[in-house]
Amino acid sequence: MTAALEVRGLSYELPGRGTRDGGRGREGGRALVQDVSFTVGAGETLVLLGRSGSGKTTTLKLINRLLEPTAGDVRVAGERAADVPATKLRRRIGYVIQEVGLFPHFTVERNVGLVPRLDGWPPPRIAARVRELLTLVGLDPERFAARYPHELSGGQRQRVGVARALAADPPLLLLDEPFGALDPITRVELQREFQALEGRLGKGMVFVTHDVREGLRLGTRIGLMHEGRLAFLGTPEEFRRSDHPECRAFMAAA
């Protein structure tokens, strides 16, 4: 079976400023991500752990081509991402962004049904799918479908964000610190529910966090990012025992 996601030698340099003079600005040419490789199988969750600014978000954006890699290769469900039109690729990858980014002028129902609509599903099928997903993420469709994002709590918004990412049943899910902005209690609650979902969904997931405990709880494997590089890749158990200084720094913080 092909892996949900295969990343080989992925790199990203900031474009040089002004190509005409051939010179590069201060930021020009700086590498944000360097030579990152990993594989995520179906039903697997790779946690990308790292300090803020270590390149985690950039790595996710390189996978769904919100940024174009300057080197390396990404395959989603066996197909080269570079060979697929970017918009089509992105509809096959669920994406939960750090700030949730629900559309404030859409109801919960329209937010969740966004990708199926873009893909041209018939409305009754979208409606059924939305109900199914809201139930899956623990929101009663009767109560929540017609609400607007500003009528939801932070935790409820995150649930809608996850439901939206799952809507078109993508083989791969990218989650960028989805629980980062929540209070500790809601956060643990959502982590638990997410853990229960992981096994049931059977999707490949890349879960970005800077919280070691969250990472160790949710990941089947841990990738530690440090200054744009993947400094460590292994199971949570291996991570705990690693003597890589950055791993130890994180363990000490836990």
Binding site: R92, G101, P104
Partner: protein
């Protein structure tokens, strides 16, 4: 002579001038929307153009109308005397609030929302039409409102270039020092401006999405 008596005696002429005035405002503001909104959108896609384009629109606003007409008279097609020249001038005056508000309205959309849209696989066109324009609509409409209200007032200068409108009474009144005549032109123009402001304000409250 009282204003009412004047209107009673010249009803037909008044209605004709009001119609001319409405025509000048309608054509010029529609053209300004048709030019200004796409231009504002382009600026959000080409941020480098923002300064020169907004700067130019700003300059247009500061050129006195008689000077602008002076420049326009010799130009082929858009220039000369009459309605077309007046409309060109009115479009130039209306452009700034529309371009600026379209730009600000779209640029003001939460970057996370934009990012989410792109991340979900929206094309640029889908993002524009389904997310950015609806969310920026209130600000864009506010610009349209300002432009329209200002146009109703500035359309009185069309009378300086032979394009008619309510400015005819104002210019005549000034020429022969007749306050009733001046008022006969200024009053309906002011009422039209208030009406336009009220209607577009209503549209703004009714149609624009208001976020928290």
């Amino acid at each position: 002579m009282s204003l009412l008596a004047f209107y009673a005696r010249n009803a037909q002429e008044v209605l004709g001038l009001v119609a001319q005035h409405l025509y000048l405002v309608a054509v010029s503001t529609l053209l300004a929307f048709a030019l200004g909104i796409p231009l504002g959108i382009v600026l959000t896609r080409r941020p480098a153009w923002q300064r020169p384009v907004l700067g130019l629109a700003n300059v247009f606003q500061t050129v006195p109308s008689l000077a602008l007409f002076g420049f326009l008279i010799p130009l082929p097609f858009i220039g000369g005397i009459g309605a077309s020249t007046a409309i060109v001038a009115l479009v130039l005056y209306a452009l700034l609030p529309i371009v600026r508000n379209t730009y600000t309205g779209i640029a003001g959309v939460d970057p996370a929302v934009r990012e989410a849209g792109r991340g979900m696989g929206m094309t640029d066109w889908q993002l524009l039409t389904q997310v950015e324009l609806p969310l920026g609509f209130g600000v864009i409409l506010a610009g349209v409102r300002v432009a329209t209200v200002v146009s109703v007032g500035t359309a009185t200068i069309a009378a300086a270039i032979g394009a008619g409108g309510l400015g005819v009474y104002i210019f005549r009144g000034v020429a022969v020092v007749d306050d009733t005549l001046i008022l006969a032109g200024a009053l309906p123009a002011a009422l039209m401006a208030l009406a336009a402001d009220g209607l577009l304000g209503l549209a703004e409250r009714r149609l624009a999405w208001r976020g928290k």
